[in-house]
Symmetry: C2
Subunit: 174 residues, 2 copies
């Protein structure tokens, strides 16, 4: 499926509601456990999404449009927001993500990107030349990847409880 | 994490809203593709959830409480609802799942299951003795597994579009 702005926005505008529908009001028994050492719990994932919304997507779109291949992306600190947001409640983080995403989509509309701009290139610090439509598609798949991560972390807490059914349940198979 | 009815119900009652938040209003470009031959698209997954709600969870809970180890579960046809629901719209299926799940949770409350009942056993046709709490935990993880599946099917459609970022995005790695 070819990248299309309008279709991509359908996913981007849904993600905050999807994650809120999953997590709002869940007890700490679900929200605090992770998948083991050095993994994220659902709260960490939402904090990461907030951080990326602030530091990655719109800033990188602007960077690419402004500098093209002349200047590589700055690296993004993926865990910065997790480290500084420890005092924030889940509801606060969900609201923050909702508002920041609304702003991002507002900016995206304002930019009125052309087909030519979608093909514009820049340099990623880790893997070289990328196009704007790669970045924009990655924004969508990044949402989905972390949505899947939250679902997987929740499911993992019942890995033992399902007994012999575990072999049927792909989300908890290794 | 030990199975607890109240915590499990937090997930079960959220699933229809989560899946609705993901899928309602998405264009066919997202809803029709699957992950390749003999895989399900998002519509098939919702039809399967409707079918399981009708034929699997509450019927098996009742079966187990009534017959214990005296009579194995009947097999469940996992694709029956997919085959017969081809004419139903996504919105119709989402409503159906919402209403059926509400009924299931109503039954679950009415049963007022005791700790002793949660340990009651029966025989699964494929893998032998299972307990009621295994079945109830499986209901939760089955919800999560198919939620993750829908997310994965959506993400798969942009596997090529993300360019070199694919290595960072676990949901589309094989």
């Amino acid at each position: 499926m070819k990248y299309q702005l309008a279709e991509a926005k359908q996913i981007l505008e849904r993600t905050p509601n999807v994650i809120r529908a999953m997590l709002q009001g869940l007890s700490d028994a679900w929200l605090l456990p992770n998948e083991g050492m050095d993994t994220w719990n659902p709260r960490d994932v939402v904090a990461h999404l907030v951080g990326m919304e602030r530091a990655a997507w719109v800033p990188r779109i602007r960077h690419l449009l402004e500098f093209g291949e002349g200047r590589p992306f700055n690296p993004v600190d993926r865990t910065a927001e997790i480290r500084v947001s420890g005092h924030k409640s889940m509801n606060f983080l969900l609201d923050e993500f909702t508002f920041l995403r609304r702003d991002s989509l507002q900016v995206l509309s304002t930019l009125q990107l052309t087909t030519k701009q979608l093909e514009q290139r820049t340099v990623h610090p880790d893997f070289g030349v990328v196009r704007l439509d790669n970045l924009l598609a990655t924004w969508v798949v990044h949402d989905l990847s972390h949505t899947a991560q939250i679902v997987r972390v929740l499911a993992t807490q019942y890995r033992e409880e399902v007994g012999p059914w575990s072999s049927y349940l792909r989300v908890i198979r290794h």
